[in-house]
Symmetry: C2
Subunit: 231 residues, 2 copies
DNA sequence: CGTATTCTTGACTTATATCAATGTCGGTGG
DNA sequence: CCACCGACATTGATATAAGTCAAGAATACG
């Protein structure tokens, strides 16, 4: 595998790791390019590997028994994903699909406990990562319990702009293709409602929409919507 | 501290630990009795300790900036709780309140990393614990996104009966005082709606209510409500 | 007992889903 | 290069689940 170790070194997850350990890890890694719409792994499949996203953007989805889909989270460059073994289960709880062309690094599941036991520091860092994810999940539960749809969408869009925002001339552009349906699945609503909300915002000059595109023109107004109730 | 090590030994979290390590941990532990309504720690307070619940029942709550409360999770005997340090934060993200008289064991936060580094096995187990919690959170998000209130309440009640159910003559009784308001805060709805739902179920012989009481008489019917949509 | 929670129930309102068209974009192939 | 197709988006009309408002009743507790 020809992966530049300095790329990994820049990630908080690995920055405390020695060069020797890092190279040992890379020895076992397999990289793979994933095209938009392709799955890295599927819900329910045996968890043969765990992954690191080097470049691109993934969405992790789950489908309910009756066929409804939700987006569990977005995976951004530098994120570990698909470590089902940490959850003590043999299969992946969700499906990881590329939203944009992506580059992943994969390790065999068996290596996880070896790496962790050899390198307790990695264990601590990994735990903090899951902890953060748990906190994000609680935030989402809190929002879904207490906020009406418009505020939830405002929060979701603001998060996206922080995690995947790219400065362009008219504002901050979400840097990967995202549909109304996607936003609906992230906030627990329908694409119709999202469409109406974004249309209203566009009329007020807060955002600029488009087919699988979204640009935030006035982050301040969006923050107001998200924080104070009923504007 | 006079705590019987065999009690801890029976918990999955500690069963692989040597007697020596276990005793070393207990050396630093402080036990405390908590009366119903009392808080073990408060949201936003500095995370001085992490805890283990030996006996009783706690609810972990969060309040939103505008004063609405939600129940993040219930803590059952044997559960670790309040380990904010794993989330890499210095304060508690929620408040832990005793629902019934409880007995907790507390360690100073600083000890966590020491224990973990001395005992990698503990790290792995702890990570699995957080992982399970993450999965529970995702389940809740999925339910809140796709299910109507009655099914969510059904799922919540079934979970309670699994985690805190006690066989009594008329069915399975939730073994701690729980109000309609509590169930509402666990499912993202209002106490009115919960009350109506429980009344309807009582009329159908599925449950038996009461002030801060709840008994499941017909788990099968409840499962039907939870699984199949619109009965 | 009386006082304070907790619970129930009815009437009304509203946010949001659902149903149903129609419009628009962007890529593919003729 | 244009035309067409499929995916995505918009928007109106209507339905409805669940929230809000408002009393009252039941239960526990001091």
């Amino acid at each position: 595998m020809k992966i530049d170790p300095t790329v990994l070194k820049s990630l908080p997850l690995f920055d405390r790791m020695s060069d020797r350990d890092l190279n040992a890890m890379l020895e076992h890694a397999v990289s793979r390019r994933v095209m938009p719409g392709d799955a890295v792994f599927e819900q329910g499949a045996p968890a043969k590997s765990f992954f690191l996203l080097l470049h691109g953007r993934l969405k992790v989805t789950q489908v309910t028994p009756d066929g409804q889909q939700i987006i569990v989270r977005m995976v951004h460059p530098g994120d570990l994903f698909g470590f089902a073994m940490a959850l003590q289960r043999a299969d992946y709880p969700g499906t990881a699909i590329a939203a944009a062309e992506s580059l992943t690094l994969a390790w065999p599941t068996e290596m996880w406990s070896r790496f962790v036991e050899q390198n307790p520091r990695l264990a601590v860092t990994a735990m903090q990562t899951i902890g953060q994810r748990l906190e994000e999940a609680h935030t989402r539960i809190r929002e879904m319990s207490t906020e009406e749809v418009e505020r939830r969408v405002a929060h979701a869009v603001l998060r996206l702009s922080r995690q995947a925002g790219k400065q362009v001339d008219t504002g901050i552009r979400i840097d990967f293709p995202i549909s109304r349906q996607d936003i609906a699945e992230m906030t627990g609503t329908t694409l119709h409602t999202v469409s109406r909300i974004l249309s209203a915002w566009e009329a007020r000059g807060i955002v600029e929409g488009g087919r699988q595109k979204l640009t935030i023109c006035d982050p301040q107004k969006l923050l107001n919507l998200a924080d104070r109730a009923r504007s």
